[in-house]
């Protein structure tokens, strides 16, 4: 049932409240009220509790009404949070059996606390979240996120309060803790009732339909959509270009290690590269940079052109972006000293607008502070140095010297398997580095930046 206590106009409601509270007080009268006992909840014993049957029985006697009417009235008390269930706390229903119930503290009564403040709700949700991950249900998560956005300026206070309250509650006895938790939960269930599942589904569907509506309008305006034929043709071109490099499609020389057990394919290429490898550098600038050998060759070329600082700068920026957070300030400072200070030994040529923005950002260095400058240098190299490198003698000579490996000779005894050699674990490299006292990642990172596919 979809209900909301505050749907009623305040004036009429207040009268009802007074009536309800008067009754609740008499229910708790030590002589004439409901007999309170210890009730068992799983393994804990909760004091001062009563059963649903007790409540109904008392109402029948006190008001001289039928049991149907008594149930109806009793249900109202539960609905408005004056009485709360201990078992199945989310179900604010009165059951006429031995289900345990308790009276809510006057502190939490509607008259004293209504309207429930946002801050209190935020603290409550924060407590739940801290106490047990995943305890927030769907709609509570939404509320939590929305509150986080809305009262973000006091969020530190919220978390601090939540932690304090949790800490204080830990010092209580378990029975008291459970009671307090139930009271609080009951209060919030009344004041922030969950949206029914049906409604939630409806809202999600509405959102999706709206999204589709927006998309249709965008398509109709034809903004920023690439024609499919352009995409498809570029995709076909990519497949054709890379096909000779696809071992599953065309095999590879000397042989696929998994088939012949010969690991030559993985171990060659250290001194003289293969023709395929060198050719791949011409596919895109990213391919050249992703290959450590390609990068090294490119650096040699840039040195001849007296623009090697561009590549060094780009590499240093990558190191900042992908390295440890704690090292960012010192790394950024190094970069500034080497590349950006006017008169620096390896000064990079960035346009004034980008330089100004970067220098401003350096006052508060973060991981992405060098992004703009890095992009500028990247595209400079891509548009200028890279095409010239591909036309250069350096590249052409390397390609001429590059080898085409011999196909692995088939074993004389085809049924005998070659020995499968193990290789040194990458973790071993780190072990050695750690022993030397060097930083763990500076070594391994240099050969692994970018989406590398080492050969």
């Amino acid at each position: 049932a979809f209900y909301h206590a505050k749907q009623y106009a305040p004036v009429y409601f207040m009268c009802a409240q007074i009536q309800m509270e008067r009754m609740v007080i008499s229910m708790q009268d030590p002589d004439m009220g409901i007999k309170l006992r210890n009730q068992r909840l799983l393994i804990t014993v909760i004091p001062h509790a009563m059963t649903g049957a007790d409540i109904v029985e008392w109402l029948i006697k006190k008001c001289s009404i039928s049991d149907e009417e008594a149930l109806h009235i009793g249900q109202i008390f539960v609905k408005y949070g004056y009485i709360y269930p201990l078992k199945e706390p989310r179900n604010l229903i009165l059951k006429v059996d031995d289900s345990p119930y308790r009276f809510q503290m006057p502190y939490y009564w509607m008259s004293t606390r209504w309207p429930a403040s946002e801050l209190d709700y935020a603290i409550y949700l924060a407590k739940k979240n801290i106490r047990k991950q995943g305890e927030l249900i769907e709609y509570e998560k939404e509320c939590y996120n929305a509150l986080h956005k809305r009262i973000n300026h006091t969020w530190d206070f919220v978390v601090m309060q939540a932690r304090e309250q949790l800490r204080a509650s830990k010092q209580r006895r378990k029975a008291d803790r459970i009671v307090l938790k139930c009271q609080e939960q009951a209060y919030w269930l009344v004041n922030r009732p969950p949206v029914s599942a049906e409604l939630y589904k409806l809202i999600t569907l509405t959102k999706n339909t709206l999204y589709l509506l927006k998309r249709t309008l965008t398509i109709t305006l034809c903004e920023g959509l690439t024609r499919l034929c352009v995409c498809v043709c570029s995709y076909v071109k990519y497949c054709e270009q890379y096909q000779p490099h696809d071992p599953i499609m065309q095999g590879c020389l000397p042989s696929i290690p998994w088939i012949t057990d010969d690991i030559m394919f993985w171990n060659m290429n250290f001194a003289v590269p293969t023709k395929l490898r060198v050719e791949r550098w011409s596919f895109s600038f990213m391919e050249l940079l992703n290959d450590p050998m390609g990068r090294k060759e490119f650096l040699t070329y840039l040195k001849k052109e007296f623009s090697a600082e561009n590549l060094c700068f780009w590499q240093a920026c990558e190191d900042v972006r992908h390295g440890e957070t704690s090292k960012i300030p010192e790394k950024v400072d190094e970069v500034y000293k080497q590349f950006l200070t006017p008169g620096a030994s390896r000064w990079v040529n960035i346009d004034s607008k980008t330089m100004e923005k970067t220098l401003e950002g350096l006052k508060r260095p973060h991981r992405f502070v060098l992004d703009d400058a890095q992009m500028h240098i990247y595209f400079l190299m891509k548009k200028d140095s890279y095409p010239r490198y591909l036309k250069s003698d350096l590249y052409k000579n390397l390609f001429a010297r590059a080898i085409v490996p011999q196909e692995t000779k088939k074993s004389v005894f085809p049924f005998m398997r070659r020995q499968r050699h193990s290789s040194p674990s990458p973790a071993l490299a780190t072990q050695a580095a750690e022993d030397d006292g060097k930083a763990k990642n500076s070594n391994s990172f240099k050969s692994n930046s970018g989406t590398a596919s080492r050969r």
Binding site: L202, L212, T226, V236, P247, T325, P426
Partner: protein
């Protein structure tokens, strides 16, 4: 405003403004929002009617979308592919079988050295193999079962894994036989629901995670801090993948679907029984890979190096190999004795590895 004589579309526009603020705004006691509440209560009062109408409106909008796209007079993938040579016979066999897991294999990842693999399973074990020799090099027992995600660090010095514990932990790989790997474990990511996928972004220092709580997040490994979080999905995020780009800042995430590695800005999605290719620039589906004889759906896909072949691991225990351009099924591979749950092509494209509920991993080449 909240009046049945106004069309649903108008009501949507009215409601949309307030949806921007999230559901919780409904609980503020202001007249405006009480109005909205009435609209929704009204709609909810005849739930079947309203939902049915909404569904019809959705369908109409989808059709309109397709019509608009058709107006672009575009060329389909298979039309362009007609001119391309067909692929010949395809023979791929199991070259290695990695046995050692005690329960369903849920996830796997290759190391950049092209021969090592990390795999995780339902029994809580994460194993690092040298797939070439089939030796187990490291084994970690996680404190939880159903380790649904695992990833190899780019340096090869650590692995990340997580699952029902809602966390993503990083274990540095030590070669000291006496050392307990679990001792050096670092808890990095913390979600409010299960971890469905994780991967390192470019270096050992950052991890991208996706979770059943509907969000993705970027974490700093060193400090365990969340650097960025990504909302927007309405349901459990099941998978994610990085896009190779010059800025290195893009990733794709999927809900209720699996996403393979990007090839040239395109991703492959799986829905029900069909694998679909979707182009992000054209913002539309490009091809569907399905066959009448394929009854069960796929759980995991990956492209070959050139992007010409698509490998799909299916719930009927087989692996189907598709010609991406022509849309035809090139080969079907048998071998697993239960569902194929995860599939990845090796970094140099020489082979691919499949993990299955039959407790094994197989290398195919």
């Amino acid at each position: 405003m909240p009046n049945t004589k106004y069309g649903l579309t108008k009501r949507f526009h009215f409601l949309n403004k307030y949806f921007q603020n999230g559901l919780s705004s409904l609980h503020q006691n202001t007249p405006r929002l009480r109005e909205i509440l009435c609209v929704l209560v009204e709609m909810a009062a005849q739930p079947s009617d309203t939902l049915a109408t909404l569904k019809t409106e959705s369908e109409t909008l989808k059709t309109k979308l397709e019509e608009e796209r058709a107006k672009l007079h575009d060329v389909e993938l298979h039309q362009v592919a007609e001119k391309i040579e067909a692929l010949g016979q395809f023979v791929m066999k199991t070259r290695r079988a990695l046995k050692g897991h005690g329960n369903k294999v849920l996830c796997l990842d290759w190391c950049k050295d092209k021969r090592r693999i990390v795999s995780s399973s339902q029994d809580g074990k994460v194993i690092v193999w040298d797939a070439f020799t089939t030796n187990k090099e490291h084994a970690v027992t996680m404190p939880c079962t159903w380790v649904m995600a695992c990833a190899y660090a780019p340096s090869g010095c650590a692995v990340a894994c997580g699952g029902l514990d809602n966390k993503c932990s990083v274990y540095p790989l030590s070669l000291d036989k006496n050392e307990n790997l679990a001792a050096k474990k670092k808890s990095v990511a913390m979600h409010t629901n299960y971890l469905s996928a994780c991967c390192f972004t470019n270096s050992d220092m950052q991890i991208l995670t996706s979770s059943g709580d509907g969000t993705c997040a970027l974490w700093d490994v060193e400090s365990g801090q969340m650097l960025q979080s990504f909302h927007g999905h309405a349901a459990d995020v099941l998978c994610l993948d990085l896009a190779p780009s010059e800025t290195g800042n893009t990733f794709v995430s999927g809900v209720g679907t699996d996403i393979s590695r990007n090839v040239y800005l395109k991703t492959s999605l799986i829905t029900c029984k069909q694998c679909r290719l979707y182009d992000l620039r054209a913002d539309r589906e490009v091809a569907i890979y399905s066959k009448e004889s394929i009854i069960f759906g796929a759980s995991s896909v990956d492209f070959s190096l050139s992007g010409r072949l698509l490998f799909g691991g299916y719930n009927d225990y087989t692996i189907n190999v598709w010609d991406v351009l022509k849309g035809t099924r090139v080969s079907i591979l048998f071998g697993h004795e239960n569902r194929v749950s995860t599939l990845r092509v090796s970094p140099d494209g020489t082979a691919f590895c499949s993990g299955s509920w039959d407790h094994t991993l197989r290398i195919w080449a």
